[in-house]
């Protein structure tokens, strides 16, 4: 292929946009898996649940899907708190969290998928928006609004949560709870309350990613399977518990996928991207962007 700078520039820009969406999809897992050590394999399915809830609200009200998604955030926050209570009561409290917890979330994944299929049917669902087919091209660079909006949502959502973690007492407690629960108790903080809040935030971010997913592509109840490998890989690359790290790793992942797809062919994309994960685990097991 003849080298075309426009092609390379477009591959990088579209990779960054895709990476923005990946960052949003991974951010909730960074909290659950990275900070709380909860192997929530159902996280992508919660994203799909967020997409379907957004779809249902959009169909019922005619409101823009992004607005619908924002309206649903408190519901998912409460749902996340409730889920953590169940998880804590039946698994974590007994110290059985590892394999049984994994099985629990595996079961949750099936139940959610089948429930969505029974309620909405097995077809792909999508929403029609005025901006779905708009491309804000700047010169030779394509900027499809369909990908730009999820990237913007990621910047705002992850930025707000990161700011919360860094600047508030409760936020710092969330960052600390996975490292030393005893230290939290010493300053009179109930770790369970903090973990419940953190898991609520995790599902809130999943709902936000679900709204973005509905803008990016049509969804069916099993759409989460596409993202399981990616979100865990990005979370690990980013250093597990680092919001900033997972953001950077997601952008890197997106750019590698798209540049590879452009120049080597799309079938090489996962091999190169996951090859980077293996290399990272070998030479820097704490993740590329861990502090």
């Amino acid at each position: 292929m003849v080298f075309d700078p426009g092609l390379l520039l477009n591959a990088i820009v579209s990779g960054l946009l895709l990476g923005g969406f990946y960052a949003l999809a991974t951010s909730g897992l960074t909290i659950a898996f990275g900070m709380l050590d909860v192997v929530n394999i159902a996280h992508p399915t919660f994203i799909v649940l967020g997409a379907f809830a957004t779809f249902a609200l959009n169909q019922a009200t005619g409101l823009d899907p992004i607005l619908c998604c924002l309206i649903l955030l408190p519901v998912f926050f409460l749902l996340g708190r409730g889920f953590y209570d169940v998880y804590y009561r039946f698994f974590e409290r007994r110290g059985d969290a590892a394999i049984q917890g994994l099985a629990f979330f595996f079961g949750v994944m099936f139940v959610v998928e089948v429930s969505l299929s029974l309620i909405f049917g097995p077809n792909h669902q999508h929403v029609e928006t005025p901006y779905a087919w708009t491309n804000l091209g700047i010169g030779p660079v394509d900027l499809p609004v369909r990908m730009l909006i999820p990237c913007a949502m990621a910047a705002v959502g992850i930025g707000a949560v990161t700011l919360f973690f860094r600047t508030t007492f409760i936020g710092r407690a969330v960052a600390a709870v996975g490292q030393d629960e005893g230290a939290l108790r010493l300053v009179a903080i109930d770790p369970l309350k903090i973990k419940r809040l953190a898991f609520g935030l995790s599902l809130l971010l999943a709902a936000l990613a679900g709204g973005a997913l509905l803008v990016v592509q049509p969804v069916d109840p099993w759409a989460g399977h596409t993202f399981i490998g990616r979100v865990f890989a990005i979370c690990i690359l980013g250093g597990l518990a680092s919001m900033r790290g997972s953001w950077m790793a997601a952008l890197l992942f997106g750019v590698i996928e798209n540049v590879t797809a452009t120049y080597l062919g799309p079938s090489w994309s996962p091999a190169v991207a996951f090859g980077l994960l293996l290399l990272t685990l070998a030479v820097r097991p704490q993740g590329l962007f861990a502090r």
Binding site: L7, A11, F91, F110, V114, G121, E128, V259, S267
Partner: protein
């Protein structure tokens, strides 16, 4: 060390059992009297469920009709089916149960290649007649003489699948000189793509881009940009529904230009896909099995669609794709059993090889491999689509048939230019 307590195991087990239980379809229907039992697996959950459920709806329409007419050779008919969850691994167990436990009299396949291949060894061992639904060139390796295929792809399916696209492309002036080929990494798309490349020698076309993409692909923009950079005259895709949607969006966002674009996309045949993509499909040229053009007004097709569409809640709202094929399978079974007069697998297979069947998709005759003796895949061009309304797709004119010549209903509009 992790502790496995009885209570935690119970909790985990309950979640798994609940999930597995919900993943199964309704159990096989209760039996009464001595019905003729027709067994099959079907994708009622999982990624293929939208087409699986539509197939089941058409088969149930036939079941109601045949029982309303007094049954088959004087006996009532019962469909016995289980959900294969769109997972081929579940199929051998289901087929074994249908044959050994439910003692079905006749056997059909589930939806598509993924449900057919795992059943073949068992079906061959039991010497059952096997009528399959949308299995692509499945019998080329098994060579089973009681296999019959409901897909109008012909006896050389790999090559015949792209024949219409290339034949129509050859009619353009000037003649196209190059082609880009993009296919999903999966069995059917790979076979169809290989068949296309086998055909190219005859048409003097140079392949300037040839890539496959993994099923987990999210962003199709890099693929379409790379295709555009190769400047092909023709662009041929073989893709599944979500990918087809991603590809068509990317084609529009990049503003792809070529003489002819389309090919073997799966998805545009389904009503909800047509309304989702709307005008973005204008001038794309894509394979199909049935569209409501006047040249395809076969006996019974309108009656079937009139019965299917009111019960299509949550399914393909048009029912042009899978329901006619599934219903035609039942018609063939009905005609064969009626003529043979008994359930005799050998006699049925012999009759089915020797005779022509009248179906809602026209006359069907099988060759010695059980494929349609005459390939009849349609090549359709989407024309004059305005907005995303469903009704326009029920009218002639929006999906003009370009191939085969005996069903042609419109002329090719070219070149293709996607509006950004």
């Amino acid at each position: 060390m992790m502790k496995f307590t009885r209570r935690s195991l119970l909790a985990t087990g309950s979640a798994m059992v609940l999930a597995a239980g919900l993943g199964l379809s309704a159990p096989a229907l209760a039996q009464s009297g001595e019905p003729i039992k027709i067994g099959f697996s079907m994708a009622l959950t999982g990624g293929l469920a939208s087409n699986g459920k539509a197939a089941l709806a058409a088969m149930q329409i036939w079941e109601e009709e045949i029982n309303g007419r007094g049954g088959l050779i004087g006996r009532p008919v019962k469909l016995v089916y289980y959900d294969d969850q769109s997972n081929g691994a579940t199929v051998p167990g289901i087929v074994t149960k249908l044959i050994d436990v439910d003692k079905v009299d006749l056997l059909l396949s589930g939806y598509s290649t993924a449900a057919i291949a795992p059943a073949m060894p068992i079906v061959i061992q039991k010497k059952m007649v096997f009528l399959t639904l949308l299995g692509f060139n499945m019998n080329s390796e098994f060579k089973y003489d009681r296999y019959f295929s409901m897909i109008p792809a012909g006896s050389d399916a790999n090559r015949d699948f792209s024949k219409g696209f290339l034949e129509v492309a050859a009619t353009m002036d000037p003649k196209p000189k190059s082609i880009a080929v993009v296919n999903l990494d999966a069995e059917f798309p790979k076979r169809a793509s290989d068949g296309l490349k086998d055909n190219l020698k005859k048409y003097d076309l140079k392949v300037v881009y040839d890539q496959s993409y993994p099923p987990t692909t999210v962003d199709f923009l890099p693929i379409i940009r790379a295709v555009a950079a190769a400047k092909p005259d023709l662009v041929y895709f073989v893709s599944y529904p979500v990918d087809s949607a991603g590809l068509i969006r990317a084609i529009r966002e990049v503003g792809l230009k070529a003489m002819m674009v389309g090919g073997g996309m799966v998805g545009p045949q389904i009503g909800s896909f047509k309304t989702m993509m709307g005008p973005a499909m204008n001038n794309m040229v894509i394979w199909d099995t049935y569209v409501p053009e006047k040249t395809l007004n076969f006996p019974g097709i309108q009656e079937l669609l009139a019965k299917y569409q009111p019960r299509s809640q949550g399914l393909d709202p048009l029912g042009f794709y899978v329901p006619p094929l599934a219903y035609a399978n039942m018609q063939i079974l009905e005609q064969a059993v009626t003529k043979v007069g008994k359930i005799d697998q050998g006699a049925l297979a012999e009759y089915m090889h020797a005779n022509t069947f009248s179906t809602v998709l026209g006359d069907v005759k099988f060759d010695k491999m059980g494929e349609w003796s005459q390939e009849r895949l349609l090549l359709v061009q989407y024309q004059n689509i305005n907005g995303n309304g469903l009704e326009q797709f029920k009218q002639p004119g929006t999906q003009a048939i370009l191939y085969p010549p005996q069903y042609k209903s419109g002329n090719l509009v070219y070149p293709f230019e996607a509006k950004r």
